[in-house]
Structure formats: C-alpha cells, structure tokens
Symmetry: C2
Subunit: 440 residues, 2 copies
Amino acid sequence: MNELFIEAKYIISGSKCNRIIKNGGILIENDEIVAIGKVEPVKSLVSGHDKLDRTNHIVIPSLVNSHTHIPETLLRGICDDEKLMTWLNDYIWPFERRMTSEDAYYGTLLGCLELIESGVSGFIDQYFYAESIKKAAKEAKIRALICPSVFDNTPESGSLENTWKHVSSLLNNSIPDTNQLVNYGIGPHAPYTVPEEYLYKVKELAAKNSLSIHIHLNETKSEVEQSLKDFGMSPIEYIHKLGLTEEKILAAHCVNTQNKDWKIMKESNITVLHNPQSNLKMTSGIAPIYKYLELGINVAVGTDGNASNNDLGMIEELSTAAMLQKHLSQNPKVLDNSQALRLGTINGMKALGVQSQGITEKSKADLTILSLEKSHSWPQNNIVSNIIYSSSSSDVSDLIINGKLVYFNKEHQTLNKEKIIEKCSTISERIITEMGKIKK
Amino acid sequence: MNELFIEAKYIISGSKCNRIIKNGGILIENDEIVAIGKVEPVKSLVSGHDKLDRTNHIVIPSLVNSHTHIPETLLRGICDDEKLMTWLNDYIWPFERRMTSEDAYYGTLLGCLELIESGVSGFIDQYFYAESIKKAAKEAKIRALICPSVFDNTPESGSLENTWKHVSSLLNNSIPDTNQLVNYGIGPHAPYTVPEEYLYKVKELAAKNSLSIHIHLNETKSEVEQSLKDFGMSPIEYIHKLGLTEEKILAAHCVNTQNKDWKIMKESNITVLHNPQSNLKMTSGIAPIYKYLELGINVAVGTDGNASNNDLGMIEELSTAAMLQKHLSQNPKVLDNSQALRLGTINGMKALGVQSQGITEKSKADLTILSLEKSHSWPQNNIVSNIIYSSSSSDVSDLIINGKLVYFNKEHQTLNKEKIIEKCSTISERIITEMGKIKK
C-alpha cells in the first residue's frame, strides 16, 4: 500500500469547494483520499513516512481542462488577430496538413507538460492522431478522454470515409474503463462538418460502447444561421432530432443558444464545455453560462486548443469565465468564487467520467497544490477569491494525479521537459518552413 | 558611471514593440539605454564587468500599471460577487474608515512587491494618504505618479474642505520633476463626487504646478445618466466645460462614452486609463478602446485597485484587453499583440510623464525580463503573441527601473518581503475584526 500524508496551510474541501480547512491534513492511500480534516487527527492515522510539508500552500481539487486539441501546442502563436477564414485557410489547415503522427505525439507531450505545470490533472480532447495522443498521455500519467475527430480531409486518414474506418476500428473494442487514466470517447467535429449519415454511425457506436460524444455545438452565430437554413433548426436541436442526445454529450462552446436549445440541454443532460477566452478571441461571443447554471445544466470549462487561446492554464480561464458572466448578466453575484472553482475541478472530473466529490474521503486523489510565495497571494482574507482572482497557473508547486506525484516542487516527475521542448521547437520550425510563410 | 550589459535570447525593441532582436544585447549606462542590437556589436562597447546572462529570456520594455489605488492590497478578497452599493457600504468604506496612514504605507509596500514581481516599473495612483504612498514607493525604488484623492469624508482628513486643505498644501510646492521616480499629480475622484467649486480649484492648482489630473470618468452607465440629468451633459463634456481639459487629463475607465465625448477626448489629448478586468467584474461594461485607438486617442492600461480586480499584474490585463476588444468590435484584427504590449508599456510610461520609446537608445532603462522556463512559452513561433496570450506575470525573472535592478532572479532587491507580508496580514486581520463581519 502506498501512503502519502500532506500537511497544508489551507485545504479547499467539500463537493461545493466552499469548505476551507486551515492547518489541514490529507491522507492518501494508493489512488484514494482516505482522511481529511485538521492536521492532528489526520496525522494520527498515518503509518508510513511519506509526508509532504505544504504549510505555505493551498490544496485544491485538481483542475480539468475540459476542451482542447492538444497537439495544437505546436501551432502556438502561428496566427492571431486574423479573421476566421484567413486563420483557417492560410495558417491552421496548412500547418495541420503537414503534421505527422510523431509530431502529434510530441505536441501532446508539450501540452501535458503545460497542463501539469498549470495543476491540471486531466483533459478532454478532440483531434486526429488519437493513438499518438494516448501514448503521450499515458507517459505523462495524466487523465485524458481522447475523442478522435470524425472529420473530412484529416491529415491522418484523408477522406471522411477513411477517417471513419480508422476511428471506428480504433473504438470498436474501446469500452471506457474508469479505472484507467486514459480513455477514448468519440469526436464528431460538428453538425456542419459531419453529414447526417455519419452522425448516425457515431450515435450507434457511442451507444454500443458507452462512449461520450465530444462535439462542437452552437459556437458561432453564422453556424447557427446556416443550420436554421439547412435543417430548419439549431445544431443542438438537430443532433437531438437525430437521437445523439440519448448518449452522453460533451458540447463544446454553446455560445449562441436559445430557450429551445436550453430545454434540450437540460432534459438530455448535456454537459457544456465552456471556453471563454477562445470565444472572445475568435469573436464567437460570450456563452450564457449563468443561465445554464440557473437551469441546472452541467458546465465544465476548457481552454480550447493552443492555436486559438493560446495557453492551457485553467485558473486564468476560470477568472475570465467568472468576470464575463457578471458582465453578461449585469449581476456581480453570478458565478461566485466557489462555483467558478467547482466548474473547473469537480464538474470537469464528472465530464471526464471520474466520480469525484473534490477533496473528500473516498474521492480519487487528484490534488493541485498552490504555493503562497507570490505577493499576489497576500493577505489571505478570502482564500477561494485569491485562487480565482489573484493567483495564476504558475503558482502551482505540485500535482497529484490518481495518488501519484507527477509534479513535485515545480519539477516534472514523468516527462523529460528539455527534450520535449527542443523536439517541439524543431517540429514547428520544420512545418513553418514547409509552409513557406508565417505571420511574425 | 554604472554600466550593465544584458545578453538575451529575444529583445522586443522599437517604439512600436514590433522589432524583435534574436540573440541581442543591451547596454545600460546609469539610467539610460546607450546601445541595443545583436549581441556581438553591443558587447564590443562594454567596458565593465556587470553582465546579466539572460539567454533563456525575453526582454521587454517595462510594464506600467496606469490606474490603481495601491493601499487596497489590504482589502484583497474582502468582497467579491456583490452589488456595487453593498460592496461599498458594507465592505470597502467600513474597511477604509479604519485604515491609518501607517496601514496605507504597508499596504503600498505590499502593492510594490506585487508590481515588481509582475514586471511593473511604475504605477499611477489615486488614494488618500499620499505621503505614506510616496514614502513606500521611494523605498521600493519604483516609479509612481501619486494623485491624492479629492473626495468627501476621507479616512485621512474627513470633510472635503479639510481634504482640500491637506491636498492643496501638499501639492502647492510640488512641481513634477521628470528626473525623480516619484511625483505627485492631483486626483479629484469624479465629477459626481466632487462639487464644481472644487473642480475649479483642482484646475487652478493643476495649471499652476503642471500637475496631471487623474480622475474617474464615464465608468458606469448610471453615472452618465445622472450627469445628463444634473448637468445636461456627460461627465467628460462637463469637465471640458469647466476647463479641466486644458490640463493633462488621465481619465480612468471611459467605458460609457459617445461621439461627443470622443471628440473632446481627441481634441483635448486626454489619456484613457483602461481597466478591463475591473470593468467586467464590477459590471461597468467594456470600454470601446478600439474606437479610441482608431481616433488616435491615447490609451494606457491599469488594473484598478485590489478591492475590485484583485491583482496588480499587467500581462493578464493586456491579454484580457486584447480579447475583449476583438469581441466588442467583432473584428479579430483590432488591438494586435504588439499594440497591446505598447499600451501596457510605452503608453503607460507616457501617462506617467516619462519620455520613453521602449527599448531604444537614449530611452530610460526600464526593462522587464521574462523567463522562458515555463512550457507555455514554447515553441516560440511568435514571441509577442506568446507574451500577451501565453505568458503570465509570474514569468518575470528580473526588473530594472531607471537603470537599477530592483528584482533579480525572482528576488527583491529593495524591499523586505517577509516583513511586509506579515505586517499586512496583521493589519487586514485587525481591521476585519474591528468591522465585526466579513464575507468568507
């Protein structure tokens, strides 16, 4: 049995992230939290010697990045400040067409480095090269729900037909196992890019193997307008009509929605994956998250890929989410600090398929530890407020995933950072050279 | 003569922050940059031995926080998620009423620690206890334009009449000296809180002593509506009518403005101090910065005070500013990376009253050095994009203000961090106890 005892200045516990234990202790056995409370009573249960002294730190439930395209780390910064079609046609797609499965593997490793440094213990992905992503995530010992893209003209398989052959054969025997850190879902890109015939195939495969369906829905206004023209209904209504909402839907964006959509989202138990920074930067809008929360719709938070955001850090994303909802609703009370933290942690875990009630007994031992060394963490009048509004991803000192320390004293325990960074720089340079032009 | 030579992987130079020198060198003599370029030619000019090896770093012009209320560090986190009047009446004002000049001194020192750690070499302030703020800023060796608040019922002087006596006596012999790091301006709180009679006095004193007038203008919709009712014109039109715009106006917020205001802002050479995060969080709105820039109006960026934001870091503020303007204008091309950086650096220096063209020969040696150690800084496809969208305030490794290293290898060179943090925690606890209640 592996035992780890953590002593911390503050622990944010409870399924609502609003129970603060000062001078607290956490006891982990194997992959599970077995005791939590004031330091002394928990300490009395400790039999081993593995102790982490974090008395100038805060322990929070681990963050989850619930929507990204992780090999896009390689595309970081290749294009900002451009209209969508220029961005796609002149930069993103030409880059992706030149990406190999090995490139995607290294790009994922770089993404895992960044996620780990940001205190993120799991991510939900939609991209090509699912096997490369899986290999990298397993090496990083990070949680991942990898949803291979169903999309036409992918760099991996070419046509939609070939992509489907590849994806369906990959997923045919892939029933998610909650005891594994890494699992597959399925990633039909969006209703406007995947024809009806294939959406039915997706639904059938998802039903057969209990796969989560990770799909972009109602991201832009023009996409919704096109859907109304083509199908007489919004993308959300459309996938509902096709029966996809009988499965577990992880719906990225949901920016441009209306009453009719909300009813479906609520009744079908859809989880919204909210990406506030990407939505601003790509001029998609601000998703009405406060309404979703009012209605009891599930919401988790992600960053989107590095080509559009351009980082994978979640604390800044939660801060942006909270501020934007106050602005949108004209009500400062919405999305309070604890709720924002919950969206980025416990709700993300749920979307990943992990049953966790945050830092509570019998929950999985996924813990993010923030150092209080920066001046922005003082004074500590309100700990959760400081986390959301003052701290940064860079305050993360340690990360425990499923009971294992993958980041310790700001040092990676699972990955060779220097090698990965060097490799990824070379890959990006190679592809940009091949493209023959790049906005500097 | 003091000489310092810096070798860096990248230097962001030029008055537009868009000239990137790879493997560059900077030579500083006393308080001035005397040479900049590729490393070898600059190195050949070096006579001394003081060399800073920053070959895994980026050097940018120093950031400026152009609007804050610095002793509010003590109020960090005491209230979020509340309506404005509850926030003010139940939390902010009761706290401030109990703040002493010594408290403000320590609160400012904590603010200086945070600014320095965030690579910020100067700030523009409006608060009471100007002498405490000045004393602290001088100890920190940071640039500051301190604008004592003209406001009724201050904790320092009580009535507006007494406040004016104090402020005017303080400023009577205070002509700004650009060779000093710390100077005074004057801070009439806002047209809705300062009666006409005192606005005239402010104007007179500012004219006499060449003081910048630092004022809140057109922050909220209700303030503008009230001004239309009371004066038949907007706050900006009103101060223009009173003649204040003949002086140098530093106008915080300018969120709710119209054509008529823009004309005045342009013609009177008003500088807008934009605080995007505070404006979202306080539900004031999004200032139309892209319009101001189109019209050639000066814009600098600030964080506002810690009671409303809740941190003083500028990189995140610039990222928020850029994203919000794309959203507001529905045009991703507005406020591009270099322009965002310029607003937070060169434009801020100008607002402070320092003539600087960024990292160019003969400019003041105010330099912020960012480490590339975090994975979010890789690959380096676009350096300025990485600074604005991927990096964080915590990447700052060193800060040079006016030729002096005030932060070196993430260690403070001017302030005793441990003592200040301890003192400020005690002060906040004392005041909160006196208040008898606090939202946790």
